[in-house]
């Protein structure tokens, strides 16, 4: 079960981060933004936009698979680790320096997910116990 969550969230985060980075790449390559057909054509000519859409589709299938077993409340919260992975990917790829509050927020999110991982361990142990 723990392996299922680990692999599931790893896939979800990879797809989500891939989609966000690809959207940013698309937007930069198709600049300047304008609500006209030329802008849409510039977007459609970008390979990045198709990678972004693929990322979204992959994330959708992964999320539904996770929800087959995971409770939606904690899982939805845990999926917000995406905020942290996108922050670091943006730093690495685009050189966007995260400021101190952003790093503090990222720390809180990571701490929350560690607590959620422990809570799953506890739930599993209790389920094991009640089964005798």
């Amino acid at each position: 079960m723990r392996k299922f969550y680990l692999i599931g969230f790893l896939f979800l985060l990879s797809f989500d981060t891939l989609a966000q980075i690809s959207f940013k790449m698309t937007a930069e390559a198709a600049a300047p933004p304008a609500l006209d057909s030329a802008w849409f054509l510039r977007i459609a000519a970008q390979p990045w936009v198709y990678l972004a859409i693929s990322g979204y589709i992959g994330a959708f299938f992964t999320w539904i698979s996770l929800l087959r077993r995971a409770p939606v409340g904690p899982a939805f919260a845990a999926a917000h680790l995406e905020v942290v992975t996108v922050m670091f990917a943006s730093f690495w790829i685009f050189g966007e320096q995260p400021d101190l509050p952003r790093l503090a927020g990222a720390g809180l999110i990571i701490a929350g997910i560690i607590v959620l991982a422990f809570s799953e361990k506890q739930q599993e142990a209790e389920a094991e116990h009640s089964r005798g």
Binding site: L67, V72, F76, V83, G107, I109, V115, L116, S119
Partner: protein
């Protein structure tokens, strides 16, 4: 916050919540499970899933949420907009408990609370 901004904000939280609950309901629908266990496996599960109205309600909610989000961001700076995410986390936690009887142990409450706080801090500054 002007009236319009409030309703765009409310609509965004509303559709995000409906979307997540609908996806959860579709994912655990007993019909899909029966199909998957009936020998069809994963293919039967996904074929059953596309016939669930809840799945399409979820997809519709996502599209509605996306459009409301765009409208919201034209009126409010992104940094204030991100606070929305924290509210969604808490609302979905409460409704997961109400609709799917998900247990809220102290550890889960602390973990979800920390994530919601972290998302708010990232967005607020």
């Amino acid at each position: 916050m002007s009236n319009l901004v409030f309703w765009l904000w409310f609509g965004n939280v509303f559709f995000d919540t409906i979307g997540q609950l609908a996806f959860k309901a579709a994912a655990i629908a007993p019909e899909n499970k029966l199909a998957a266990e009936g020998g069809g496996g994963l293919v039967a599960y996904w074929c059953g899933l596309v016939r669930r109205p809840a799945l399409w309600l979820g997809i519709f909610s996502y599209v509605a949420e996306f459009l409301l989000w765009l409208a919201f961001l034209t009126l409010v700076p992104l940094s204030e907009g991100v606070l929305l995410g924290s509210v969604n986390i808490i609302v979905i936690m409460i409704l997961g408990r109400l609709f799917f009887h998900e247990s809220l142990t102290p550890l889960r409450l602390i973990g979800i609370g920390l994530v919601a706080l972290g998302v708010a801090v990232v967005g607020a500054f």
